[in-house]
Amino acid sequence: MTEFLNVEIRAGEPVTIGERTITPFAQSIQVTLPGLNGGFIWNRPVSVLVQSDDGQEEVLPITDVTRLAQVNLIGMSLGVIALIWLVSRIKRKK
């Protein structure tokens, strides 16, 4: 059977467009529960490698703006709640 947790970054098939070759990269997180028949796979794009014919290489990261906004909102709310809790606790002590 497979491992419990497997994190990999894999390269896809390069695509040649004119003078450039684009190689996509994706991250795969696989969770298979031992003893239970089931699992979870999360694939997401990570970056692309752009190679020119003159030898130049550039890595372009792929940012998930939507996910970033969601995480920031949740983080902000938890931070505000923690701050309010702390302030109220300090006031009670006084």
Binding site: G18, I22, P24, G38, W42, P45, V65
Partner: protein
């Protein structure tokens, strides 16, 4: 006689395990780059490669059971058996960005989902107000 039926039971269990293994292998084969990046679309000198986040969940189970009645009507052993299985899964996909290759260069354009951001915002605001109200009650 009993040995023959035990072998059949073992064989069926092996078949079930093999089926589970094959299904899990098929499920795990979804963890590849082709699932994330789509086919390039060409228009004039511009090529667009879409990318998406793909989440796959699957779970299933198989069971078999046998019972042996030592004495039947004619004093013979009676064997009864049964089996069953079930499973489920879901695949979720969401666009993340598009890679645009043109004669001017290659760039990555993110795909922004305002609906999801708005939902997260309202959930966050509701959660904050709820927690603040709860803290004030105490």
């Amino acid at each position: 006689m009993t040995e023959g039926k035990d072998l059949t039971q073992e064989q069926e269990q092996d078949d079930s395990v093999n089926m589970i293994q094959e299904t899990m292998d098929t499920f795990l084969s979804a963890a590849n780059v082709e699932a994330v990046y789509g086919e390039p679309v060409e228009k004039d000198d511009v090529v667009i490669i879409p990318s998406a986040e793909v989440v796959s969940l699957a779970g299933f189970g198989v069971g078999t059971g046998y019972g042996i009645n030592e004495e039947g009507e004619n004093g013979e052993k009676q064997v009864g058996g049964g089996g069953g299985g079930g499973g489920g899964g879901r695949v979720l996909s969401r666009p993340v960005a598009v890679i645009i290759a043109s004669p001017d260069g290659v760039r990555v354009e993110p795909v922004v989902d305002p609906t999801k951001i708005a939902l997260a915002l309202f959930t966050t605001i509701g959660f904050m107000f709820g927690m603040i109200a709860r803290m004030k009650r105490k």
